[in-house]
């Protein structure tokens, strides 16, 4: 049992819960601002075309139009991109995907915006387009960028593949395909730019990385970073899809050029076409094993379609490569991953960041092998799970985190036995499947991976946390407040958080990569210790006592005679003296030199990992092919639970999101060469599709470097679910899904036609 705590581990109520549930929270679209103009984007109707001419003048004549902006009007950098500078702010000579921005209109009302967009004259010369990563690499394929369609390639191996396969008694080859999916957050991308009371260009963003947005806005406008102020609005979900600055750059640019306040709200189809998706991929696996199930060798060739622009494609490719190994010891392993440009809407960061793709293939492959060897899939896994002394094929030692694996398997086995007892509804066939998962935390070696946050005592003795990274709705703020409260020994209720505002907040980096509770928590603990020290120094000066005679305990300063004075007394006094009792601290993700392999490309390897599993029971209608997920048990090692309700919510939310990946979602091209770009055709799970009960089992094997033992949780709840569903479908009706989503059609036709 963990020791008694003040707040850690408790399901404290979220402080943003009430305003969100009651509709009072101010998202970008809700912020009241006088005389705000409408910003709208003219987007490419072509997948790939040369722009021969743009004539904005007919639009400029329309009453109510403040400005029409094209690439020519950009005062600063015309190209941007988070990792690779390949994306025009506004298209100049070429459009590379449907929905690419070509021009902006700033208008006083909606009608004028509509008319203006229709009035801009653009002359296109359509070009041949390519939508498939493998085809894009063939000779003669349409070239998306001058440097060729191969954006980057990872070739990582360990052991001797040839030797491995020569020892194998069974060799399997399979190809898996996963679709392009949308983060489908409630709030589409949005941005509001205006000039604040000091006349500073201010952009309120719905974003995972306001400080990076600021940099890109400043570059585009030809300004210095500090000439732009960014503020984080309440964010209506992000899931990786709000790591790209595109819309914030457009908003900042529009306001800077017109000197008017401008608001951009993407519609859903714009979100589908012009913001990042999860990468579609084809994964070809060759797996060698002994007849007893011992894994010997794996060779994986992966093609990822990153679409028209790189976005975070290179980093996703890197992590996908690392995740192919999953939770298993495979002595001879090679992964070759190619990240390829096409004329599809661009893909980038999305919850799991390559891991869901890799896991669908790896965990399906394991079940295929078990079936071939007539082994229990769980026993096959038990035989091959990583041990603490093992190394990943990146040569990072697995370490203590692997101790969770036998426990996870034991829970999974129990859940499986229990779910197998449940009868199927008449006419349905029941199947139970499961999958293990591996997920890393952090951005990877040699990528700046820090978090800076600030704590202050307010004059009335409340603790204020200045977050350096935005809360996205996932509950990080609550976790950080609990960690701060626990560290300082004060009630959670007297901790307040200030959202990111570049004028007053430290730069804490991007909210992403399952790293925030770990990183922020550590930073806040460091800051809390500094704050305690500062408080005691101030108390010593005020009381005219030596510092060494004072102690801090549970929000009280303990005097030499044992008397206690509440910190609030000193806070008030300090404020009168014009002193702020505050402290900032930076925590950097540890990449210890003695343990960190140096032979890999930038962003690799990741050093911290956690394991989990998902067990599902499905009922399949063998005639219609429909799949219902009836029961789900999620088992995850989170190191330490900070807020139980929050962690359970993350796991459940991830599981439900992954049901969409497994069963429904696909941003694909339709017969008419348009993308699926609305919820009429793009299905996401509804309350009626999800199981009534998702059981969440949380293991707490502490990470020694983590705050109170924390690992991470944001992504891994999603990772094992799609392969678990595929494996359950196989048990139910004997159909092996090698392709997501597993639609009724695929199952029914495969049952009919074999």
């Amino acid at each position: 049992m963990p020791p008694e705590t003040i707040t850690i581990g408790k399901s404290e109520a979220r402080k943003d819960g009430w305003t969100k549930a009651s509709g009072q929270a101010l998202y970008v679209g809700d912020i009241p601002i006088k005389h705000v103009c409408i910003g709208a984007v003219l987007r490419s109707p072509h997948h790939h075309a040369r722009i021969l001419a743009i004539d904005p003048s007919p639009a400029q004549m329309i009453p109510g139009v403040v400005a029409v902006i094209t690439a020519k009007d950009i005062p600063g950098e015309k190209i941007h991109g988070p990792l690779v500078q390949d994306q025009p702010v506004l298209a100049m000579d070429i459009v590379r995907h449907m929905g690419e921005p070509i021009a902006l209109v700033v208008t006083e009302d909606k009608t004028a915006a509509e008319k203006a967009l229709a009035a801009i004259q653009v002359e296109y010369e359509p070009l041949p387009a390519v939508f498939d990563a493998e085809k894009a690499l063939q000779p003669g394929a349409p070239q998306v960028h001058p440097g060729g369609n191969l954006l980057c390639e990872y070739d990582v191996s360990d052991g001797d593949l040839q030797e491995g396969f020569s020892q194998a008694e069974v060799i399997l080859e399979e190809t898996f395909q996963v679709p392009r999916i949308s983060p489908a957050y409630l709030e589409a991308e949005s941005s509001l730019a205006y000039f604040d009371e000091d006349g500073t260009l201010t952009v309120v963003v719905s974003s995972q990385k306001p400080f990076d947005d600021r940099h890109h806005i400043a570059m585009t406008c030809g300004l210095q970073d500090e000439q732009v102020r960014v503020k984080s609005a309440v964010v209506g979900g992000a899931f990786g899809g709000k790591e790209d600055s595109e819309l914030h750059i457009l908003a900042g640019l529009a306001a800077w050029i017109t000197k008017r306040p401008v608001r951009f709200l993407n519609n859903r189809w714009e979100s589908f076409l012009a913001h990042p998706k999860r990468h579609p991929a084809t994964l070809h696996y060759k797996l060698g094993a002994k007849a007893d199930g011992t894994l010997i060798a794996l060779e994986a060739l992966v093609h990822m379609d990153t679409g028209a622009y790189a976005s975070y494609g290179p980093a996703v490719g890197g992590l996908l490569t690392e995740m192919v190994q999953g939770a298993y010891h495979i002595p001879n392993l090679r992964v070759l991953t190619r990240v390829v440009y096409t004329n599809s809407p661009y893909s980038g960061a999305m919850r799991g960041f390559g891991s869901p793709q890799a896991h669908f293939a790896t965990e399906s492959m394991l079940d295929i092998l078990a079936s071939r060897l007539a082994m229990d899939p769980l026993e096959l896994r038990r035989k091959n799970i990583l041990q603490p002394e093992d190394h990943f094929f990146t040569r990072v030692q697995v370490g203590d985190t692997a101790r969770s694996l036998p426990l996870i398997l034991a829970h999974a086995d129990q859940a499986r036995q229990r779910l197998r007892q449940l009868p199927a509804a008449p006419g349905k066939q029941s199947g139970v499947g499961f999958a293990l998962s591996l997920q890393s935390m952090g951005l990877g070696h040699r990528v700046p991976d820090d978090s800076t946050n600030r704590l202050e005592w307010s004059p009335e003795g409340r603790l204020i946390v200045y977050l350096g990274s935005p809360e996205l709705g996932q509950g990080m703020q609550t976790a950080v407040e609990q960690i701060a409260a626990e560290t300082l020994g004060i009630p959670y209720q007297i901790v307040d958080t200030i959202d990111v505002d570049s004028r007053i907040s430290p730069n804490g980096g991007v909210t992403c990569a399952s790293r925030m509770t770990y990183l922020l928590g550590n930073s806040v603990i460091l800051a809390a210790h500094k704050l305690t020290e500062e408080t005691l120094n101030y108390a010593a000066r005020t009381l005219n006592l030596p510092r060494a005679k004072l102690e801090y305990r549970l929000g009280q300063v303990i005097l030499p005679d044992g008397r206690q004075m509440p910190v609030s007394e000193f806070c008030g006094r300090a404020a009168e003296d014009g002193i702020v009792l505050g402290a900032s601290a930076t925590f950097s993700f540890p990449y210890p030199a003695e343990r960190t392999p140096e032979h890999l490309p930038i962003g690799m390897p990741h050093m911290m990992h956690a394991f989990g599993a998902n067990v599902v029971r499905v009922e399949v209608d063998p005639e219609l092919g429909t799949v219902e997920v009836k029961d789900m048990v999620a088992i995850h090692d989170v190191g330490r639970v900070i807020n139980r309700a929050g962690v359970e919510g993350q796991v459940e939310g991830g599981a439900v999101m992954a049901m969409g990946y497994a069963l429904y979602e696909d941003v694909c091209l339709k017969e008419n060469q348009r993308w699926v770009d609305s919820f009429t055709e793009y299905l996401i799970p509804t309350a009626r599709d999800i199981p009534e009960n998702i059981e969440v089992i949380l293991l707490e094997l502490p990470e020694l470097s983590g705050p109170f033992g924390v690992k991470g949780i944001a992504e891994m709840g999603l990772v094992p679910v799609a392969p678990a569903i595929a494996n359950a479908v196989f048990e139910a009706v004997g159909v092996r899904a090698r392709e997501l989503p597993i639609t009724p059609e695929k199952i029914a036709l495969s049952l009919v036609e074999g």
């Binding site: 709208a40 003219l42 987007r43 490419s44 109707p45 072509h46 449907m98 929905g99 909606k110 009608t111 915006a113 509509e114 967009l117 229709a118 709200l265 993407n266 519609n267 189809w269 714009e270 005639e623 219609l624 429909t626 219902e628 069963l663 429904y664 694909c668 339709k670 017969e671 008419n672 060469q673 348009r674 699926v676 609305s678 009429t680 055709e681 299905l683 799970p685 509804t686 009626r688 599709d689 639609t743 009724p744 059609e745 029914a748 036709l749 009919v752």
Partner: protein
Amino acid sequence: MTINAHPELPEFDYIRPATLEEASRFLSDHAGEARPLLGGTDIFVRMRDGFWHDKYLVDVKNLDGTDNLHFHPTAGLTIGAGVNMNRVMTMLEVQQYYPVLAEACRSVASYQLRTRATIVGNLCNASPAGDTIGACMLYDGVLKVHGVDGYRDEPLKTFFLGPGKTVLKPGDIATAIQLPRPPAGSTGTYIKLGRNTWSDLSIVGVTALGSREPASASGYSFHVALASVAPVPLEVPAVHSYLSENNITPEAFIEAARLAQQACNPIDDVRGSARYRKAMVKKLTEKALLITLDRLEGRE
């Protein structure tokens, strides 16, 4: 290939006429730029997506009788154009005498949407996927239509011309759907196959209605209508003939299902391929007939 330029619902004038005459006149005078509005669950989506560009939406709810929902023991059921689906499906007489219509309503989207969606709107929208159309057809529905020349009746059997196309002309307003009282004990089912449990549009929809019919050789009368597998909502008369003339056996249902499969002509789209739809028409027709028979025999 164009993309809707504007990310929101375009502006339009909302017209609220005082009488049906006024409404018909306005719609006729503004042919091609005005459209009658009921629940708006399709109109607003189509307008937002840039498929429809009407300047005027003419609200015909609350006009003379359009809010009526009335059952008469001999004449049958009259559902006013403005009556929403939740109201229809919770009406006791609907559940008792028109259970298939109630079941079809229940399959439409969500409770919230059904507080706006109307049966008459579903009919006039003339989507081949319309969930309640099959039931209205099989219950021998007749639309009451008000045009510039006054009232007339339009039987549903000849109402649909193509996807979104009907016999209605500018100025025509469907004010109600009338369903005669069905034979005593008649029952059936609506089976909807979607990609998910409930909320998707149908890949295939099958409506079946049956009753005892002493005058037929089989002693039964069965009717089947199909959704999402042809340019129009499709009734399959061959099923009725076959099951009237042949003994009702599981084999006869298989043959009837094959006839339904033969009659349909689906397309490929995001929800499913023509091949899958054809296969499912057969499965679901057989299933719907079996359920109908079970219900007729009181086995369910």
